[in-house]
Structures are given as C-alpha cells and as structure tokens.
C-alpha cells in the first residue's frame, strides 16, 4: 500500500512545519490558544500565516480575515475536484471539507486508481491534521518560552515561510513579473495606507491580469 506510506511521510513532513506556524503566531502576538484554534479550525497553512502576518504587522482584523480568505479560495476549487471522487454527504462531507487542503488533494489526484484516490485523500487529510496541530502547539509553547523573538530570528521566520510557500509557484516569466509587481505595489502603499491594506490590494493585480488571460 504505497499510497498510505506516501500519505504518512508527506503528513509528517508538512505537519512538522506547524512548528514554524506556532512560533510565528506567538511572535505575532497571538496567544498559544489562538494559534492552536487557527490550526484546528482554519487548517490551511497559507491562510493561517497570512492572518498572523497581517495582524503582526499592525493590520486590522478585517484586512487579516480578507487576506486569509482570498488565500483559502483555492480550497474551494480542491473541493470541487474531490467531491465526485469522494461522493460523501452529511457529516462525512463536513469532515471531508475540513481536510480539503493542498496536500490531501495533491496526493489524491496523483493516484490512478479511484480507491487509491479516496485512501490518499483521507490518510493525508487526517495525517496532516494530526501532525500540524501537534507541532503548532509545540512551536507556540517553544516561542513563548524563549522571550525576545528578534534575538532568536523568529521575526525573519515569517517572511521566510511566505517565500517558501510562494517559491514553487514562480515557475514562469508571467508569475515572476506579477510577483515583482506585487512587491512594488505593496511597499509603495505601506507609508500611505493602513497596515494590512497594502497586502490585500495586490489581489487587484491578480484580478486584472487573470481577467484578460
């Protein structure tokens, strides 16, 4: 059953980076409990980093929520793709929705056999969920214990996590150009717009460019 083995190793590797989230979240002035709730209920890495990143930089709750929600929109497309494979209703659909993330969809859609697709989805979904939450708690407690986050470099761990998340998406000229434009636009807005607004405004770039193909 290589799909189960693949699911487990991916779950552990991805889940371990919950440590970075827990530490970053506490560094951004979220409590340990709030960090854990984000991992349990939001359960979508990029959205979680976004909300703590925006509020940590002084942004409002609204701009944090908006940025995180836009980043989570891809999960809706994953759900769309998984629904005809899983064919679940009621409570099972609620559970399936919660574990619909990058990794569970990626493992499932990489399988040829339909039974393997279902197995891969559930094993990876539950696996990442369990490890991500354990390691979030450990990271949050660790960051809380060490005091001044700058002295331990944790304030650089947040942008490093973001660049690690975006790097694999910068595969062609177009994506690199739009990324460069997003850097310029956001930094140009920093001195004049309320915190958080410079980040969410870059979504306009995606809409304008994506609209015209």
């Amino acid at each position: 059953m290589s799909v189960k083995r693949d699911s487990f190793s991916l779950s552990f590797a991805v889940g371990a980076y919950g440590t970075a989230f827990g530490a970053a979240s506490v560094t951004a002035h979220f409590t340990v409990l709030q960090s854990c709730i984000l991992s349990l209920l939001t359960f979508s890495g990029a959205s979680q980093f976004a909300v703590i990143g925006v509020l940590g930089a002084g942004g409002s709750a609204i701009s944090g929520i908006a940025t995180a929600t836009l980043l989570g929109s891809r999960n809706a497309l994953y759900g769309l793709r998984m629904a005809p494979i899983l064919k679940v209703r009621g409570l099972k659909r609620i559970v399936a929705a919660q574990v619909t993330i990058d990794e569970s969809t990626a493992i499932a859609t990489a399988q040829k056999d339909e039974a393997d697709q279902v197995t891969g989805f559930w094993h990876t979904g539950f696996g990442v969920f369990v490890f991500w939450n354990i390691f979030t708690l450990l990271g949050a407690l660790g960051a809380k214990a060490i005091g001044n986050p700058s002295a331990w470099g944790l304030d650089a761990a947040v942008p490093a996590a973001f660049i690690g998340l975006v790097w694999p998406r910068l595969t062609d000229r177009k994506s690199r150009l739009i990324a460069g434009a997003a850097v310029l636009l956001s930094l140009a807005l920093v001195p004049i717009a309320p915190a958080g607004v410079p980040i969410i405004t870059t979504a306009l770039l995606a809409i304008i460019v994506g609209w015209r193909a």
């Binding site: 709730i37 940025t67 995180a68 998984m82 304030d155 998406r169 979504a203």
Partner: protein
C-alpha cells in the same frame, strides 16, 4: 473581544465555508477559465506582498534590518532546493546572527 480573536474566528469560519462550498456547488460554477486563472494568481501576489511587508516594514515605515539577512538565507536555501523546515530555520539563524551584531 481582541482583534486577534475576531481574526481567528472570522478566518476559521470563512475558511471552512469556502472548503464546504467547493464540495457542494455544481462544478460549472467555479470551472470558468477566468476564475481558474485568477485563482492561480491570487496566492502569488498575496504571498509575495506578505514576504515584502514582513521583511522590510515596521508599521508604516520601510526599514532594512536583520530580517533581510534571514531572507537572504531563505532564498539561498530555496536555490539549493532545501526542504521547508531548513528554509525557515536557516532564516531564523541568519536573522538572529545579524541581530546580535546589530544590523
């Protein structure tokens, strides 16, 4: 309620709503090529803006400090295709060293 609690609850509710919608709406609703294209670009612009803002700003000012050393380590680690935890930990170490030497 603190802004952090509002953000935690709001983000969680909307994150689940989006996931559940995907499982529940007819496929034709979200399969338009324009939606697909915008959806591919959204994470690129938001994550890049988050890199920029979290690396070189403090409140409403652009400030270059020890965090850039961490970012440089992260980019180097990415160029060598090192795994995610190494990227984050390497950035923290680079930044901490720069911080102690007062950059």
């Amino acid at each position: 309620m603190t802004p952090q609690w509002i953000a935690v609850i709001g983000t969680s509710l909307l994150a689940f709503t989006l996931k559940y919608l995907g499982h529940s709406v007819p496929a034709s609703w979200l399969s338009h090529p324009r939606i697909q294209r915008i959806n591919t670009l959204i994470p690129i612009v938001l994550l890049t803006a988050l890199v920029a803002v979290n690396s070189v700003t403090v409140k409403t000012k652009i400030i270059f400090d020890h965090r850039l050393a961490g970012l440089a380590v992260a980019v180097t680690a990415l160029l060598f295709k090192l795994p995610f935890p190494v990227i984050v930990a390497g950035a923290a170490i680079g930044s901490a060293i720069a911080y102690h030497y007062k950059y």
